[in-house]
Amino acid sequence: MKKFFSILLTIFVPLSFTNVSKAAGHMEAEVIHWWTSGGEQAAISEFAKAWEEMGNTWIDTAITGGDNARGTTVNRIIGGNPPTAAQFNVSKQFVDLVEQGLLQSLEEVASAEGWRDFIYPPELIETCEFEGEFYCVPVNIHSWQWMWINNDVYKQVGLPVPQTFEEFLAGAPKIQEAGIIPLALGGQGWQESGMFDVVASSIMGFPLMQSIYRDKDLDAFRDGRFESVLNTYRELNQFTDEGSPGRLWNDTTAMVIEGKAAMQVMGDWARGEFAVAGQEAMVDYSCVIPGKEKYVALGGDVFVFPKNDDPKVKDAQLAMASMMVNPTVQAKFNNAKGSLPMRLDVDTSAADACMQMGLDLIQNPDAIMRESDDWNTPAFTAAWGDIISEFRNDPNYTVAQVMDDLEGVLTSGL
């Protein structure tokens, strides 16, 4: 028996020592994020560079897929091994963490640097502020509210570039006749429900969106307009191709770039793909905010800083938070990312026509649109998205059934 245990000991002891971290004089920070694409990596490395220029070490933990990355962050916090900083979306994704007291308050830096004065739009402050204290750093603004259109395709069939989904649908059969896929859509849940919200808001307008998604107003939900959104969405889906299931968003964007497809509904990160392909905004492709009323959807990313017993970690966290909102770093980061900065005093002279459109629009507070996940839990958004995705994929799932199931989610208290 002794022999047995001594074998065990010889196995375990050396192993357990390999896990002791090498403590160093400077600050060390591990950051979990899901920015793995080319443009995204360029953006996060702006943060990393700035951090290392301050004489610190950046430990990068990139995890493919937002869901996976957030899941890892939460597990690590629950499991007692939190990262220094972690990415979340502008949303309610991390509210539980704040309420359970698991996140570091950033109020010290926030009030010292006057974050409340320069963070724009103020809705971003709402996202991060809990009981008068800052718990997250917004780093950018991304809007879903875009149609990306190949201009050549429309020239070829002799149609003007559509400005609304109705116009798009009117022209779609003609494009199909020309042997081109009218609508490029990647069949992943987030792409399907993302496009749905764009269709919904452009048809119903923001006030109605708000009464349904935020206030859970069933009368508004049942007044017929939401059903017409579902019908339009179903109609749009007749114009997608068979290769859609599981296709990645950027492969889907490539179809528009190559002229295999006419249009994709996608967030403004798609712009990076056009830029990499050497295409010029409004010349080779158009970016259109669909609908009569134009909105910028207020999406984007934030970083949170899980509490840690080690006071050195707290110092690193506050230093990093302050670095992320620094206007110089913001300019570099957002130029690489193709997103809008979270403050107005940032140099955006490199912006292209599409980004400029977003920059102009966001100055108007009435054009700022909140998204469902600003008001709802991830569980709600996921349950809702499941239904939308299934609605898209299952032709036997009727609008009436979908309405009932969505009402079920609205009233579920999720």
Partner: protein
């Protein structure tokens, strides 16, 4: 019996006992307790009764998941048994290169589910995969769109799984066939029973212990299926190939809906107990106990 008798054996079994109690039993109690709460991102004791279960059974997605696990479980188990038995019988015909064939049929079993999923995803790729090959060979009628077809995608999962697992069943069956007494074959051939008939009606019943072992080992894997589907279809198209295991993992780790995940996992657990436990109890416990006493 005094406590100190067999004390060494008791100490030796202590890790097993502790693990059984804390992990196997403890985890189920923990999961059940928290399935009665509305925990979201982190576990909180916020009692809501059986709301999570009620919500679970209302989910269309859960229905799809349950249906899928039945299809998968049935096709995978039956497929492995039939193909495994068939291959064992083929190999048992005194063929040349027996060990080569055995290796060929067994090697997929060495592959992980992630690898299996990724390979079949590539082979069944609608643009570059087998369908394309057939078209290039002039068979333009050939259609193999299983991965993107919501009704067939779950069968693509089954094919990949059977490819992976059939070889193991073959080895078990072959071991059984090799244990059959020569005299039985002699008497069967004297009576002039057709060979295929002897295999099905005489030999197969004699392999019952092997079949039972195979079924138990396969079935224990069925409920756990997660990585294969993750690699092959990610649960898609839509959520057409989702399974209870995926539903649970999704709610645990990406949807921050712990209460729901606990409820779903408890239902998974109860189903497994209902289906497997009485039978496994008989096979492994009672039978062995009486056999040895």
């Amino acid at each position: 019996m005094p406590f100190y008798r067999n004390i060494a054996a008791k100490i030796a079994l202590l890790p097993m006992i502790v693990i059984s109690l804390t992990v196997f039993v403890g985890c189920i109690i923990y999961s059940f307790v928290y399935s009665l709460t509305n925990s979201k991102l982190v576990p909180v004791m916020n009692y809501v009764g059986f709301d999570q279960y009620e919500r679970l059974f209302k989910q269309r997605k859960w229905d799809v998941a349950v249906e899928n696990i039945f299809i998968y479980g049935f096709v995978f188990t039956i497929g492995c048994l039939i193909i495994g038995f068939l291959l064992a019988v083929l190999i048992d015909q005194k063929i040349r290169g027996e060990s080569l064939f055995r290796t060929i049929f067994l090697y997929p079993y060495a592959m992980s589910f992630v690898v299996t999923g990724l390979v079949w995803k590539w082979v069944l790729n609608p643009t570059f995969g087998l369908e394309n090959s057939m078209h290039m060979w002039g068979m333009t009628w050939f259609e193999l769109d299983w991965l993107v077809n919501r009704d067939l995608a779950i069968y693509a999962v089954c094919i990949a799984a059977v490819w992976q697992g059939a070889g193991f069943v073959m080895v078990l069956m072959l071991a059984g066939l090799r244990g059959i007494d020569e005299d039985i074959w002699k008497s069967l051939s004297i009576e002039g029973v057709a060979k295929w008939k002897s295999y099905i009606f005489v030999i197969l019943p004699m392999l019952r212990p092997m079949v039972v072992t195979a079924i138990v080992l396969i079935a224990a894997g069925v409920v756990k299926v997660y990585d294969l589907i993750l690699a092959l279809t990610s649960g898609g198209p839509g959520y057409a190939t989702t399974t209870p295991a995926m539903y649970v993992m999704e709610n645990f780790f990406s949807r921050a809906n712990l209460g729901q995940a606990f409820a779903a996992s408890i239902i998974m657990f109860i189903s497994v107990v209902c289906i497997l436990a009485p039978w496994a109890f008989y096979e492994f416990y009672l039978r062995n106990k009486y056999a040895n006493n």
